[in-house]
């Protein structure tokens, strides 16, 4: 495998990351080295092994469900919810233009 700068740019685009040329070159090298190392997993036979997504413990199927009722103590008003935004007004987040009409 050889990770190219074009592949790094493609993945950075998927991950919404702006990278400069130095970062792209460094990441191509690092990702290449790490992904080659990860190919080690192909040595091990996993046929018939169920993938493990989560650590499970013994419990009823409904153990994680609760009554669907309003819990006032857990309520945020919009002012609290938007308080940490760089740009918010009147309880809304403000963002740059989404749709550009010609």
């Amino acid at each position: 495998m050889k990770i190219t700068p074009e592949q790094v740019r493609y993945v950075a685009n998927l991950g919404n990351l702006r990278l400069n040329d130095d970062e792209i070159a460094a990441l191509a090298k690092d990702m290449d080295e790490l992904l080659v190392y990860m190919e080690k997993l192909n040595e091990i036979d996993t046929s018939g092994v169920e993938p493990m997504a989560q650590v499970l413990y013994e419990a009823e199927e409904t153990a994680t469900l609760r009554e669907d009722v309003e819990r006032p103590e857990r309520k945020f008003d919009s002012a609290t919810a938007t308080a940490n935004s760089a740009l918010a007004a009147q309880g809304y987040f403000k963002v740059p233009k989404v749709i550009d009409r010609q």
Binding site: V8, G15, L27, K40, L41, T46
Partner: protein, 476 residues
């Protein structure tokens, strides 16, 4: 009072005897921590007002003759990836430099309800990603034992404050060894409980299927006290377990005769000889205490690092998607459109290691690679977990090193990410299997660098783990 050596039982006794008040203790602890902190950079910021208010509440209870709680007046630090209402929580990232959470983590709520006094927030690797604390956007932490060396990571600040004496105990988080490795490097006790034992509500997510909150302290008993207070089902975290929380201290009898200990051969082959000799002496002590020691094998160990760095980066790339400049503080000024704003904010805000992991995680989850990497890693994870369940059919506990080597020098491993990742070999397996594991100090190298012994037990058997750790600690 000597703040640097206080323990929870000592504070309980001193407060009851009116040797000092909780307020006096909090004031003294804050002053000491603030004057000592420049040496290590272990605290990112202090929350004096909140600490003094908590201490005043403890004093008021004492004055009324009420029980101030199991942690009444105990000064602690909280890793800065665990949210604290009204107190800045940065995750050691520029992206969250000014984030003031509107709620408290469940672990924090429970500790404060038991009387704990939070002095401040501990430094760490950015979003808990790293093994040396050198990835903090606010400067690395220095190891209080040897200031030219790293404290370990990612909970480097949490380990350092306990070793330095600027907190009696602390909270860290562990995804691949981020509690045990710094505990080992700084010579303190660090505990990663069973996955689901402590609610993750309010722990800023890195890799959700692997993240744990756990305590640091100077004694095994103090960590058991913190865990007991935090443990148990929480409705805010669907993965928190309903299993009952036993009395850990009742298990710490000092009697470990007949306990069967497994030494996994895979954990001793790449071990530096001096660390190996220290663990060897610790195992001799366990034998003298009446433990039966047998050799075991955990055959999938060699694949653990590849497995872990696929799963954790995949989960991280997803969890870190929320830092888009819209909801959380820092936003790039240079953007004409929404996608450009996302990209610039993230490109300017994340440090090198976070970018590396977002990229790797995005790659392994991307179209055409999902089965080959992510699904394959999840299958290997199942085999690693099976290694442990097979082993625990034969033994009561597993004893192993925490790290292949003691604390290394600042800058020594930063240039080579694969070498840094490989240093996590003995700790990531416990996280992948979700079993309880801890580091207990086992001695120092000739250079005076601490080495920790790791103890691992089966799911929810923290009591057995503490029983062995405590017996060892008393006879070390």
């Amino acid at each position: 009072m000597n703040i640097a050596t206080l323990t929870i039982p000592q504070i309980k006794q001193d407060l009851a005897a009116r040797k000092y008040s909780a307020t006096e203790l909090a004031q003294a602890a804050l002053a000491f921590a603030q004057s000592e902190n420049p040496k290590t950079n272990a605290y990112l910021h202090f929350c004096s007002e909140r600490a003094l208010a908590a201490a005043a509440a403890v004093d008021a209870k004492l004055a009324r003759g009420e029980d101030p709680g199991e942690l009444g007046g105990v000064p602690i630090a909280v890793k800065d990836v665990i949210v604290t209402k009204g107190v800045r929580t940065t995750c050691a990232s520029k992206l969250l430099e000014n984030y003031i959470p509107p709620y408290d983590a469940t672990a924090v709520v429970r500790l404060e309800q038991a009387g704990a006094v939070i002095l401040g927030k501990a430094n760490c690797d950015e979003f808990a990603m790293g093994s040396s604390n050198e990835n903090s956007a606010f400067g690395p932490v220095r190891n209080p034992v040897a200031l030219d060396r790293v404290p370990g990571g990612s909970s480097g600040g949490s380990a350092a404050v306990v070793a330095q004496g600027t907190a009696v105990a602390s909270l860290g988080s562990d995804t691949g060894g981020s509690i045990r490795q710094p505990a080992s490097f700084c010579g303190v006790v660090g505990v990663t409980p069973t996955y689901g034992r402590v609610s993750r509500y309010g722990l800023v997510a890195f890799a959700s299927s692997l993240d744990h909150i756990g305590p640091f302290s100077r004694t095994v008993s103090d960590s058991a006290t913190l865990l007991k207070v935090m443990a148990g089902r929480d409705d805010q975290d669907a993965t928190s377990a309903p299993a009952p929380v036993p009395d850990y201290h009742a298990a710490m009898t000092g009697d470990v005769r007949g306990m069967k200990i497994g030494l996994p051969k895979e954990y001793f082959k790449d071990l530096e000889s001096e660390s190996g000799a220290i663990i060897g002496r610790a195992v001799d002590t366990l034998k003298k205490l009446g433990c039966e020691v047998v050799d075991i094998s955990l055959p999938t160990t060699d694949y653990a690092i590849a497995c872990y760095y696929i799963i954790c980066t995949a989960e991280a790339s997803s969890n870190l998607a929320r830092y888009d400049g819209v909801r959380y503080t820092t936003r790039s000024a240079a953007a004409n459109s929404l996608p450009e704003m996302y990209r610039n904010t993230r490109g300017e805000g994340f440090g090198r290691e976070c970018k590396r992991r977002i990229m790797l995680g995005t790659y392994v989850l991307s179209h055409g690679y999902y089965d080959a990497y992510y699904l394959k890693a999840q299958r290997v994870r199942a085999l690693i977990a099976k290694d442990f369940s097979d082993a625990f059919a034969q033994v009561d506990a597993i004893v192993a090193p925490v790290s292949p080597f003691p604390a290394f020098k600042l800058g020594e491993k930063m240039a080579d990410p694969l070498q840094m990742y490989l240093s996590d070999i003995y700790t990531i397996t416990g996280d992948l299997a979700g079993i309880p594991c801890m580091s207990v100090p086992a001695g120092n190298t000739a250079d005076g660098l601490p080495v920790g012994m790791q103890i691992l037990t089966k799911h929810f058997d923290e009591a057995g783990m503490f029983r062995l750790a405590h017996a060892y600690e008393q006879n070390r």
